[in-house]
């Protein structure tokens, strides 16, 4: 069995172990679905009141939302451990993972799985509906499909890279939960809307520091708005690759600073 096979096996095992507590599993799935649905409804209400925001139609903003959320839940599906990394440092769970003959990051990723089927389905539905609408009205060509698939991939990588860098900060500061509210939750919420709505400093932050702007806004300026050139896709891919490399670098240094816990 290669590492991919073993990873799949470990993910399956996590699901099986999670199913042992059936009521908890059902409740947490329902709650998560409720949260995303209500979040989305909030956005819908906002848009139905304003109709369009700074020239962005409801469907275009729906597209931004769909891409962002699909990337988010893909990341949450396989990167749940990175997203909730604090307990690994606080409880010293990382010790056990360091004893496995696997690359550490892979051991961490496969140690926890979150079931995101419902949320992913919802995000993809929104995304599909918006893409269909844009196609039917002739606002986009069929190129939108492969382009969207591409930016879902790069978006997931950016999400993962930011999550990994945040988790790696924990090797120095141990507690990362509040930090990840800032780097993940707040930025995700902001990026549901076009970046052009925000003040300069926030836009710079979302493009240069925590590059969530490259998950949906930047490529959408080309894919659905056609205002910017095809270079945006290349830039998006480059940002995703750079973010991943930096995050892996920080992680690698962080691991040598791991302090474990006393017994």
């Amino acid at each position: 069995m290669n590492w991919l096979g073993i990873s799949v096996m470990l993910y399956k095992i996590n699901v099986r172990a999670g199913m042992q507590y059936r009521l908890n599993f059902i409740l947490s799935t329902l709650l998560a679905a409720l949260v995303t649905v209500s979040e989305f409804l909030g956005l819908v209400v906002l848009l139905s009141v304003f109709g369009a925001i700074q020239g962005w139609s409801v469907w275009e903003i729906g597209y931004l939302y769909g891409v962002l959320m699909t990337a988010k839940f893909l990341y949450r599906a396989f990167g749940s451990a990175i997203n909730n990394f604090e307990p690994y440092l606080v409880n010293g769970t990382l010790d056990q993972l360091l004893l496995r003959p696997m690359p550490l990051l892979l051991a961490v990723l496969t140690s926890r799985t979150r079931m995101v089927g419902g949320e992913l389905l919802q995000s993809l539905t929104v995304l599909g509906a918006c893409v269909a609408r844009l196609l039917v009205h002739g606002d986009a060509s069929w190129w939108i499909v492969p382009e969207t698939l591409l930016i879902i991939c790069t978006g997931t990588v950016i999400m993962f890279a930011v999550g990994l860098a945040t988790a790696a900060c924990g090797f120095w500061i141990t507690r990362t939960e509040d930090l990840s509210v800032l780097t993940d939750n707040a930025t995700t919420t902001a990026c549901q809307l076009p970046l052009s709505l925000f003040p300069e400093w926030l836009r710079t932050l979302l493009l240069a520091v925590i590059p969530f702007g490259f998950i949906n806004y930047v490529p959408a300026m080309f894919i659905v708005r056609g205002e910017w050139g095809v270079w945006t896709l290349a830039a998006t891919a480059a940002v995703a690759a750079a973010a991943l490399l930096i995050a892996l670098g920080v992680w690698k240094i962080g691991v040598t600073k791991y302090q474990s816990t006393g017994t």
Partner: protein, 333 residues
């Protein structure tokens, strides 16, 4: 080649100095003042293949930190570790194939799954072929007797059973060395005895090198040929268990309760810690109707002490205590 080498091993933890007063959490966060705590200081030792080594010292002496550096969990601040010639920090994955590690207070088994599933997972991770896995399980069954709770979810196992499971999990990939951090912690006497029998067998019959930390003196006495004692991060003894015992002696505390009053002979009245002249023991504690004395059994017999104590008053009850090994180590060094 040595199985394990620690060369000038050091570990320093840097922490922020906590601030007091208003907004102390925030001020601690931004404080520039750091304090370096040295957990392990210039530690050197070597372990040859097949040895059974006890690694002991008081709480906070740096045992766990050292063990974690040996396994590649922590990175040393200075110095080096070699496990069968490899650095656990640079070649972590190579080293974890050569060692089996058990932390008594944690389990590496999958908590919610039947025990047998953990072995399937570990076999896949260590890339054992089905034949290799089966052969290992048959061997482990001989030593650890796992079949009786094979299908039980790990969370429902007793402490002793879980430890047998953890030992088997650490041994599945047939490592050359076992590293055990307090494997008998929290166990009752029967479970401890069982685990010790298993460990002895693993060392003697299967030739595994074993490094063991424990707070249990009986573990050390019954299992280890050699002990390394560390205190405050430094090695203070490395040698045979017999010689350590000679150095420590056999300290014992005898508590005698008297039926009525008792009278301490002149000269020993000074109180706590006073030597009783020509008695070969000293008074540790005095209460209204009870006195506790300490002696070294390699010099003075318990019966001799009792004979003297019975002259002080009418003896009601006698208790003989062997103090915690850890206390003794602490006192001696």
């Amino acid at each position: 080649m040595y199985m394990l080498e620690a060369i000038g091993l050091e570990k320093t933890f840097v922490t922020s100095v906590p601030r007091a007063g208003r907004f102390k959490a925030v001020r601690t966060l931004f404080s520039r003042e750091k304090r370096a705590v040295t957990a392990v200081k210039a530690l050197d030792f070597r372990v040859a293949p097949g040895e059974f080594v006890g690694f002991i010292g008081p709480n906070g002496a740096g045992k766990s930190t050292t063990i974690k550096m040996l396994c590649g969990i922590l990175h040393p601040s200075a110095g080096e570790v070699r496990v069968a010639g490899h650095s656990p920090q640079r070649d972590r994955r190579k080293v974890v194939r050569k060692i089996g590690v058990v932390f008594g207070q944690r389990t590496q088994l999958w908590w919610d799954l039947p025990l047998k599933d953990s072995f399937d997972i570990l076999a896949a991770m260590f890339r054992l072929s089905p034949a290799e896995k089966e052969r290992q399980l048959v061997r482990l069954e001989e030593v650890l007797r796992l079949r009786e709770f094979w299908d039980t979810p790990v969370r429902k196992l007793s402490l002793g059973q879980r430890m047998r499971g953890d030992l088997a999990a650490a041994l599945l990939h047939d490592p050359e060395m076992l590293v055990l951090d307090e494997p008998t912690i929290g166990m009752d006497v029967t479970a401890k005895r069982q685990i010790r029998t298993h460990l002895k067998l693993l060392n003697e019959a299967y030739g595994k090198t074993i490094l063991l930390t424990t707070h249990d003196m009986d573990d050390i006495e019954q299992l280890c040929q050699r002990v390394i004692v560390i205190s405050r991060g430094e090695r203070i003894y490395d040698g045979e268990i017999g010689q350590l015992r000679e150095r420590i002696g056999l300290p014992t505390v005898i508590r005698v309760a008297y039926r009525g009053d008792y009278r301490i002979p002149a000269g020993a009245e000074a109180g706590g810690g006073a030597d009783v002249p020509d008695g070969g023991f000293r008074i540790v504690e005095r209460r209204e109707r009870e006195v506790a004395v300490g002696c070294n059994r390699s010099e003075t017999g318990v019966m001799d002490v009792l004979r003297q104590l019975s002259q002080w008053g009418e003896v009601d009850d006698v208790r003989v205590e062997e103090p915690d090994f850890e206390d003794i180590i602490h006192r001696i060094y």
